[in-house]
Amino acid sequence: MSNSKTAAPPAGARKRRKSTSAWLDFLCVLPALAFLLVFIYYPIVDLVRISFTDWNLIKPQYNYVGFDNWIWLFTGSGTKYLLNSLKVTVLYTAGELAVTIIGGIIFALIFNRMTKFFGTMRAIVFVPKYVAMSSAAVIFLWIFNKNTGILNHFLGILGIAPVDWLGDRNIALLSVLMLTGWRAIGYGMMIYLSAMMGISKDYYEAASLDGANAFQRFKSITLPLLSPTTLFLFVTTFISAMKVFQSVDILTSGGPYRSTEVLVYLVYQYAMRDFRIDRAATIAIVFFILLLIFTAATMKVSNKNVHYDS
């Protein structure tokens, strides 16, 4: 009796049970997969389709017009807007990278003292990351105001003439970057600090015995050993900076004179303000391809040029 119970069931039943089990396992992932296919992958296909139409949301119907939108974007009146927003996006991305990486390292060195007082200061420097961008942007919108903003008031005390932070086309992007930097720098600091703590003290002691000064120790030990962290910050910041939208939307709405019109904002304006989703879709595809290229490129770089502490 007990023998028959422990004996293996017939091969057919086992196979059947195995396939039911596989089916149930598959059922676990099916809802998520179906969702991703319908709401993340299919829209890419649809986007390509829309780019070959003359779809204007105001009009009830649309026609397929071949490559018209692509011609408009690359050889027509759309080219200068695309190039402009590419330039703005590159400048913005470079700025955010500089603040996060260079600023992050500098802040990590400044706040690198493991006392309670410094811990509190670190928490304060880090907290802007958790302030929603919308709240941060309305605060900065007022701080940057040419007439009533506190920043110009402080500059006035120092005898500096008021600056039109958001209305001057040469400064507006810098102002947007100041808001970004305020939120990002503490994050860069925290990531670098936790990496620095992982570096063995032995390296520094050995270097000191060999007569290396603080700067030499930083240059030859800290920086190389932080390169995986730098790469991590570079890749993640790069991709998120290319998608910037909210700070631009609240602070400058892409202006003045398109000086802060980043790629996503260009797409947004064609789609939601002008209702020209055909043109918006075309630019969105270009944006997506750029994202993919940069992601692939950074992945490739990440396999070289990085020192790892064994």
Partner: protein, 294 residues
Amino acid sequence: MSSQTTTISIAKENASAIRRRKILKVIQYVIAIVVTLIMIFPLYWMIVSSFKSQDEILATIPTLWPQEWHPENYSNVWSKANFAEYYLNTIIMTAGILVCQIVSGVFAAYGFSKGKFRGQNVLFLVVLGALMIPIQVTFIPLYLMCARWNLVNTFIGLMLPEMVSPYYIFMLRQTFMAVDDSYLEAARVDGMGRVGVITKILAPMCKSTILTTTLVTFTNGWNSYFWPKIVAGTGEKTVLTIGLANLKNTFAGQSTMNNHEIMAGAVMAILPVVILFFIFQKYMLTGYSKAAMK
């Protein structure tokens, strides 16, 4: 004789080195404090201004401390700008996103880590690939879908693109894979089904990852701006971030007149997340550094 002089000179060198280290320490303290003050200033300015009267806000010489305290700014903005509604909408949207992501994420992560079926690894590539397609690219077709299904200005519409998170699935799968199979075998021998294994064994064992990832999801949902602006930018399903950004236009079109109330709104919008930050500081930092991977 010569050995004596060397000891003295070493002692001298040590003394000067100690003095130099002390000076450096002071400099570091000064710089750190100044930097901290600059970093906290925008938040300080927001909180202080939110308690000022309108006259004080409009004064030509700004005050660093309110002359009189006006907590009624908060109730004003609450009633004038429908903040109660924004709050409710944000809570419903965020809660909906959380529930959908957790349920779909936990099951999918189980299937990809502990399940066995054909094409498992290929199908997981579908999840990984989805990480590289941001909403900023797909929002036009998604908006058209919502328009077709009458989901514009609805909660379902707000939640739609966030209901399943490839990032959530990815994170949980990594953690589930680290759990030893023998636990699951033991549970199955006891006659436990998949749902039981997931809710009673895997989920409790991976509590901290689930908590961190869920915190990131919560913050992202609460602070989300782009998609809510597209699908419910104006209308009765406005969320906090959008409502707050709209404040600069709604008060009679004068952006500078009501900054005390806008600041009160800004404080109210960030309060839940900042409170969470202080409670779960440790989890949120690790969560963010992992989240940035996506």
